[in-house]
């Protein structure tokens, strides 16, 4: 047989690699909380505020836009270029009158502009969305855990949820590290990632379940799990590839509106593929081995 690393014997390295990605993300989360007052780069969907996207008819420089905004006391506004002639302006929540006046001024004074987007979200709506996002996340995780417990066993449910938490931490951590804006599409993105990752885990658990039935003498639990991982490896990689093809096409060709949604999914899908192979099954093996140690202790007590 060709050189085949033993997935389970190497599990400490996989755990270390996971931590290597997660820890900087957690540090970034805390660092931003201290420096910017918020863990993540929440968009107006979560914080409340206004967002205006304009396409200018002539070449416009950033300071020109800032000058107009300054007249409304909006020096603190966040302005960035979102396309060749497109600019995105994010401010505190503007009233209808303020919004109209600013758009009118920018249009008249900077050589004409087409309104692409004008969004306004009240602070109350924003905090409601944040609460909903957390509920969705926990409800999703718990339901997945229950499903696996019913269809497989409790310890596999726990291992699967650990792998899902890994994906959430990796995704959220990287969002903080690279300060990627987080908008309302974050909730569907992270739940789809969870659904996708658990998908992968189940395929592997299913194979382990099947192989455990035909376990040969002298074969250890580690070996069975390792063999199952190798048997499903081609599938794991090919499936993540087909999804990545579509995500990458959407990332590079799709519009700017969806870019953060796609980026979140890209991170999550790669993490999901990794955690299904390198976290879920190894964690289950660890849980199983601990359970086996117990009966050896009990007779001694009796």
């Amino acid at each position: 047989m060709a050189l085949r690393p033993h997935f389970i014997h190497l599990r400490r390295y996989w755990y270390a690699l996971s931590l290597l990605v997660i820890l900087p993300g957690l540090v970034a989360l805390l660092w931003h909380k201290v420096h910017d007052g918020r863990f993540l780069n929440w968009g107006i969907d979560f914080t409340g505020g206004s967002l205006i996207e304009l396409r200018f008819h002539r070449a416009v420089e950033l300071p020109e836009i800032r000058n107009v905004l300054a007249r409304y006391g909006l020096e603190a506004a966040e302005v960035r270029q979102s396309g060749p002639a497109d600019f995105l302006i994010r401010t505190r929540e503007l009233t209808e009158e303020e919004g109209r006046a600013i758009i009118g001024d920018l249009d008249r004074q900077l050589g004409g502009a087409t309104l692409l987007r004008n969004e306004r979200v009240g602070a109350k709506i924003g905090s409601e969305l944040a609460a909903k996002a957390l509920t969705a996340l926990f409800l999703g995780l718990i339901l997945m855990g229950i499903y696996i417990t019913v269809r497989f066993e409790f310890k596999q449910g726990v291992a699967a949820v650990v792998a899902l938490l890994h994906d959430v931490l990796v995704t959220v951590g990287l969002l903080a590290l690279f300060w990627i804006p987080v908008d309302s599409s974050f909730v569907p993105a992270i739940l789809t990632v969870i659904g996708y990752s658990i998908n992968d885990t189940i395929i592997i658990f299913d194979r382990i379940r099947e192989n455990m039935r035909h376990i040969r003498k002298g074969e250890t639990l580690e070996d069975v799990v390792n063999a199952s991982l190798w048997q499903t490896l081609a599938r794991s990689i090919n499936t993540v590839l087909t999804v990545l093809f579509m995500l990458l096409a959407l990332y590079f060709l799709g519009g700017s509106t969806l870019r953060h949604f796609i980026l979140t999914m890209l991170i999550g899908v790669v993490s999901g593929c990794y955690s299904s192979i390198c976290n879920a099954s190894p964690v289950w093996v660890d849980l199983k081995l601990r359970e086996r140690r117990r009966p050896q202790v009990r007779p001694a007590r009796a």
Binding site: E119, I125, L139, G195, D206, M246, L247, G254, G255, L258
Partner: protein
């Protein structure tokens, strides 16, 4: 080679390819519904429009009641109908919120402003006594005086209103001629005309507008009546038609590139079964689009992204099955037996895996609103359809292919 089976397979393949091309590619000038995707309903973010969440707030004059919110929705509906918007959405959310969605209007911000105006009309005497209100109004129409060219709004009162108005003007002219009657809209004095003679016909007119459009807006407000509660904007999202069509265009391009890459990959890696999986994937795409059209699912930008991703995930079931097929062939089974055993063993895994994704979609649907719900629905339809195409259809196609005897070399099945 089995001739009948071969013809059968080629016909099925041709049918699927033609259907998917008709579903996606336009360029059939005289047929307006080709490509089939033209029949899909597009969301606000794809065709431009405004999504606004209104919240009823308590004021000293009126506290919010369930009845008040219901009446407000009726008034909003009335006003929106006058804008001539196609398929507007007016929805209650929770106890105090109303969601309004208007697509394809020229100035959405202006429309929203008009929409939430209280529009309370009052005719008051000089002493500040209310004579008639908007409640007594039967109709209000804008018009242009053919002689003077002056823009005006003509009011017609209900019989009760006409009587009250007649009494008041009789009284006014009897006591002291040339008294004023103030016309107030939302507490603002619009006009303060003199009453020269009693008005008993139940008709009155207001003049002094800058344009016919302005008169039209006022007439609409008056006709639809006053809002019984104060409405405030808590969320508003306007998408210009430019960005909408831009997003749609880019997503379709990205989708075609992504789909093409998947098709090539599947043939390159899985050979003959890959070709069958590709046919099943195209069929999946056509079926899902058909279900979207039949269920009148509104396609939003996240919805399209979800659909495109489901194309990537739909082949997953096939990949699981084909990997299994390879193992069974290597274990020495015949082709037909390997197909059957491969599908049977892989089905449990495919089923469990898809169920969990359905669970995630259910959570999204339960907790989400608007576009997020749309995403959950498109995701669920995709999963259910892919279970059918990837398992049943591919299996049937593979048996058909095996039956033709075209591909004898088991290596082409991955053995």
């Amino acid at each position: 080679m089995n001739f009948r089976r071969t013809v059968q397979l080629l016909m099925v393949a041709a049918l699927i390819v033609v259907a998917s091309v008709l579903a996606l590619k336009p360029h059939v000038a005289p047929v307006s519904w080709l490509p089939l995707t033209n029949l899909l309903r597009l969301g606000l973010d794809l065709r431009g429009g405004v999504h606004v969440v209104l919240e009823a707030v308590d004021t000293p004059e009126a506290t919010v009641t369930a009845e008040g919110v219901r009446q407000a929705m009726a008034v909003l509906e009335n006003r929106i109908n006058q804008f001539g918007v196609v398929e507007p959405v007016i929805q209650q959310q929770g106890a105090r919120r109303i969601i309004v969605e208007l697509a394809g209007i020229k100035d959405p911000d202006e429309a929203v402003q008009t929409l939430i105006k209280p529009a309370y009309l009052e005719f008051k005497t000089e002493e500040g006594q209310v004579i008639v209100t908007g409640r007594d109004l039967q109709d209000a129409r804008e018009a242009k005086d053919p002689q003077s060219g002056e823009v005006e709004v003509n009011l017609t009162f209900t019989p009760v209103g006409a009587r009250k108005f007649a009494e008041a003007t009789l009284e006014a002219t009897r006591v002291q001629p040339h008294k004023h009657i103030g016309i107030y809209l939302d507490g603002q004095l619009l006009q303060n005309p003199q009453v020269r003679e009693p008005i008993t016909t139940g008709k009155a007119r207001i003049t002094g507008y800058a344009s016919l459009e302005e008169a039209h807006r006022i007439a609409v407000l008056l006709r639809s009546g006053a809002l019984p509660v104060k409405l405030e904007i808590v969320e508003k999202r306007t998408v210009g038609p430019t960005l909408g069509s831009d997003s749609l265009d880019r997503s379709v391009k990205a989708g075609i590139l992504g789909l093409g890459t998947i098709l090539i990959f599947m043939i390159g890696y899985y050979r003959a079964p890959g070709l069958m999986a590709n046919l099943a994937l195209l069929l999946y795409m056509v079926l899902v689009l058909a279900v979207f059209t039949a269920l009148k699912v509104t396609m939003t930008l996240p919805g399209i992204a979800g659909f495109l991703l489901s194309l990537g995930m739909a082949v997953d079931a096939n990949i699981i099955i084909f990997e299994r097929l390879k193992e069974e062939l290597r274990a020495g089974r015949t082709l037909r037996a390997a197909i059957d055993v491969g599908f049977k063993r892989a089905f449990v895994a495919v089923f469990d895996a898809n169920m969990t994704t359905l669970l995630a979609a259910a959570v999204l649907y339960y907790l989400g609103t608007g576009p997020v719900r749309g995403f959950a629905v498109t995701l669920s339809i995709g999963i259910l359809t892919s279970m059918f195409t990837a398992v049943t259809v591919t299996r049937w196609l593979l048996h058909l292919l095996a039956g033709t005897g075209l591909v004898k070399n088991l290596k082409l099945y991955g053995a």
